[in-house]
């Protein structure tokens, strides 16, 4: 039982990270109908930006307050990653908007390959590890000498995810930007005719997606303490899986999907075999889609004849 609760805590933590990345996939898909394959690598780039900022703060500026450092790292990573994603959209996707569906997909795959290799070339292929940023934990229960713990790191991740989701929900549901976004999702041409700046709305979508990915990247770095250039692909694919599982285009779906994938992965590793944890995640995805083709929260894709 204790073991299970502990795995649940770990799974939710991992799921939060996946969920934050998955929102980026789902949002971009919702608005321009494109699978932004490079999103996983944007997440990886953000972890590198966080890493560099962290090193500047601690090694050069000598900031010792971990709360301050973390806050600054988070903000800097969000800003720079947003810039990166904004440029990517401008350069690699905007010229292809409205053309053939596969062209932006290939462009995104190219961008993904480019980003990971760019980081490899500029930062080197080795693992980059840092000393733990945050340590310490709450002991929730201690039964039979098996402590169930919730580390501060995990708490930060949970809290941050919850706060961000609330803020983000507010943004999409209550602000003019969110309204413009939803209008563009429905019909870009009509939205443009009604005076919505479609380009700007799409740019903003990419910026928000990147900001959330940057939070995920920073937390990933904080949680695992290590990052390499190839760390974009697997979390990226899993987050995408999460987005599809939740029903691509649906924001709550992305979060729930992320949590499910995170939980499956941890529980499978804990109870079955760690080797096959990714196989489990992908199999669940395939099975869900076969029986529930539009995902958990997606709108059913009715074939109007």
């Amino acid at each position: 039982m204790e073991y299970f609760v502990q795995q649940l805590i770990n799974g939710i933590t991992l799921g939060s990270i996946y969920g934050l990345i998955a929102i980026g996939y789902t949002m971009v898909f919702g608005i321009i109908g494109m699978v932004n394959f490079a999103h996983g690598d944007v997440f990886m780039v953000s972890a590198f930006i966080a890493l560099i900022t962290f090193l500047i703060l601690t090694a050069w500026l000598g900031i010792s307050s971990i709360v301050l450092a973390l806050a600054i790292v988070l903000i800097v990573a969000m800003l720079f990653t947003s810039l990166v994603n904004w440029v990517i959209e401008r350069v690699a996707y905007r010229p292809l908007r409205g053309s053939f569906r596969l062209a932006p997909l290939i462009s995104a795959i190219g961008m993904s390959i480019f980003l990971s290799n760019f980081v490899q070339v500029t930062q080197g292929p080795r693992n980059k590890s840092i000393p733990p940023m945050v340590s310490g934990e709450f002991v929730l229960a201690n039964h039979n000498n098996f402590p169930v713990t919730l580390s501060y790191k995990q708490l930060i991740i949970w809290g941050l995810t919850a706060v961000l989701l609330l803020a983000f929900w507010y943004l999409v549901a209550k602000t003019p930007l969110g309204r413009a976004q939803r209008a563009c999702e429905q019909d870009q041409k009509m939205a443009a005719l009604l005076g919505i700046d479609v380009d700007r709305t799409i740019s903003m979508t990419f910026i928000i997606a990147a900001a959330l990915a940057a939070v995920a990247g920073t937390m990933y770095l904080m949680y695992y303490g290590v990052v390499t250039f190839s760390d974009g692909f697997v979390p990226g694919v899993k987050a995408f899986t999460a987005a599809v599982l939740g029903g691509i285009g649906s924001l709550p779906g992305a979060v729930v999907g992320g949590l499910i994938i995170g939980l499956i992965e941890t529980l499978w590793s804990a109870y079955f075999s760690i080797d096959y944890k990714d196989v489990a995640a992908f199999s669940i995805l395939a099975i869900t889609l076969i029986f529930l083709p539009q995902g958990l929260f997606g709108r059913p894709d009715v074939e109007k004849v």
Binding site: L51, I56, A59, I106
Partner: protein, 469 residues
């Protein structure tokens, strides 16, 4: 024609104010360059401005690279200035010029291109030996010839699925892997020969294609894409983890190689060279392999061209155009999709078993998502559905990245630590983006009708649907 003239006149209207007021153009270009410089400064500051390195005490420290950062920003700003000030007006002016009618040589070119190309690839090993001599030929036949032909064959195979049937398959490499491992395991454990296993590997792959296709082909569009991606990953992960069978990451070594009608290519007395009274050289085997993959590739191409003119081929294309209409005409869409999937998988299986036989070593490393992405990009870049387009795209993409392996002279320019192969995938990714922007619908942007009454007219690809799975 009318469309072109129209867009040209629009371009003209947009361009006039720029041309008439020269100083403004300069200022505007300068402003744009400054903006680009600023953005690129922000973009490159973290990753180029700083470098994370591990010091002797195994701690991560930062080093700065300000000159490099400055160079990047300068190049970006300068490039933008050049574009805004010189290139863009020139492009606009060029677009305004009347379009010349296609020259007469184009017709001849089209007619003679295919026979010439086939003649060239058949003569290629001889030409290479004549040009580079006995010693340098290996690299050109193996790394260029065989490598390109493998991807060309994969491209043609995937073209059936993506280009003709309009099913987006992101896990094509899975079938390539099934073919490779089928050959490797059956050849090692049962000692069967390459020529027996080649069709068997194809059949096994297409069997997997049907097995995986059956549940997923109900899915449409991006859902289909992600499930095929997931299956590709699942098969790779199983190969990695089922070490008892596949030896995991370490891979399978010393896989038997194909022999020349029972005569092996080795330095022994009963080897190929000795039997035919030649001096031993690895080149014989490579040339033999070259012709095998050439034959396989041409077979794939020939079969596909043939299929397009048969009812299945037309049903595939109709499926890509409109599935509902297909069903209203009595076409069983599930079966039709499955045949496309199985056909594509079969050719990947052939290619996979050839790959295993050529390398004599396979490991899961060779079957990552990047391979699927590469093959898919060859199909899209070629122009969906076009056989010649796929061939050209394979030459450009694979040949291009192979050339980057060979650029050792760059070491003399950039210093001995410069490793051109490092930049191979970087440039590959960049090339994908740029080529898509340049030609979103691929190199060959027309579709050839499969049948005609009076005159075969190429169809503009704008009318052709891309398929939603």
């Amino acid at each position: 024609m009318a469309v072109l003239a129209n867009s040209a006149s629009e371009g003209g209207r947009a361009e006039k104010p720029i041309l008439s007021r020269e100083p403004n153009r300069f200022a505007a270009a300068l402003r744009e360059a400054a903006f680009t410089g600023l953005v690129s400064f922000g973009l490159f500051l973290p990753l180029i401005g700083f470098e994370t390195v591990t010091n002797i005490r195994d701690e991560l420290i930062l080093r700065t690279r300000w000159p490099l950062l400055a160079a990047f920003v300068f190049i970006a700003a300068g490039g933008r200035f050049f574009y805004s000030f010189a290139l863009a007006p020139w492009l606009a002016r060029r677009a305004q010029k009347p379009v010349k009618p296609a020259a007469a040589w184009r017709g001849h070119f089209k007619k003679w291109f295919v026979p010439f190309a086939i003649g060239f690839v058949i003569a290629y090993p001889v030409i290479v030996i004549l040009v580079t001599g006995w010693g340098g030929a290996l690299k050109w036949i193996d790394n260029f010839g065989i490598q390109i032909l493998i991807y060309m064959m994969l491209g043609w195979g995937l073209n059936i699925v993506v280009g003709l049937a309009g099913l987006l398959d992101l896990g094509y490499v899975a079938f390539y892997a099934v073919g490779a491992y089928s050959y490797a395991l059956l050849a090692k454990n049962f000692g069967l020969s390459f020529w027996v296993l080649l069709p068997l590997a194809g059949i096994l792959s297409s069997f997997w294609g049907i097995l995986l296709g059956f549940p997923v082909l109900r899915l449409r569009g991006d859902y289909l894409a992600i499930v095929t991606l997931a299956f590709g990953e699942i098969i790779r992960l199983i190969i990695i983890n089922w070490t008892a069978l596949t030896n995991g990451y370490a891979g399978i070594i010393s896989i038997p190689r194909p022999s020349f009608f029972g005569i092996p290519f080795n330095a022994n007395d009963n080897g190929f060279a000795a039997r035919f009274g030649l001096e031993f050289s690895p080149l014989y085997r490579v040339i033999f392999l070259y012709y095998i993959i050439l034959a396989l590739g041409l077979l794939t191409c020939f079969v596909t061209v043939r299929l397009r003119r048969l009812p299945v081929g037309r049903a595939w294309e109709a499926l890509r155009e409109d599935q509902i209409a297909c069903r209203s005409l009595g076409i069983n869409t599930t079966n039709t999709k499955l045949t496309a999937f199985a056909m594509g998988a079969m050719f990947a299986g052939f290619a996979g078993s050839f790959f295993a036989a050529r390398e004599a070593f396979i490991s899961p490393e060779s079957f990552t998502f990047i391979e699927s992405a590469t093959v898919l990009s060859i199909v899209v870049l070629g122009g969906m559905g076009s056989q010649i387009g796929v061939a050209i795209a394979a030459i450009v993409m694979i040949g291009g990245t192979e050339i980057l392996r060979q650029l050792n002279f760059l070491k003399e320019i950039f210093g001995a630590t410069f490793d051109p192969t490092q930049y191979r995938m970087l440039l590959f990714g960049l090339a994908l983006v740029l080529i898509m922007i340049w030609r979103p619908r691929g190199l060959i942007a027309t579709r050839e009708p499969s049948v005609f009454l009076k005159k075969r007219k190429a169809i503009s690809v704008d009318l052709v649907q891309e398929g939603r799975g």
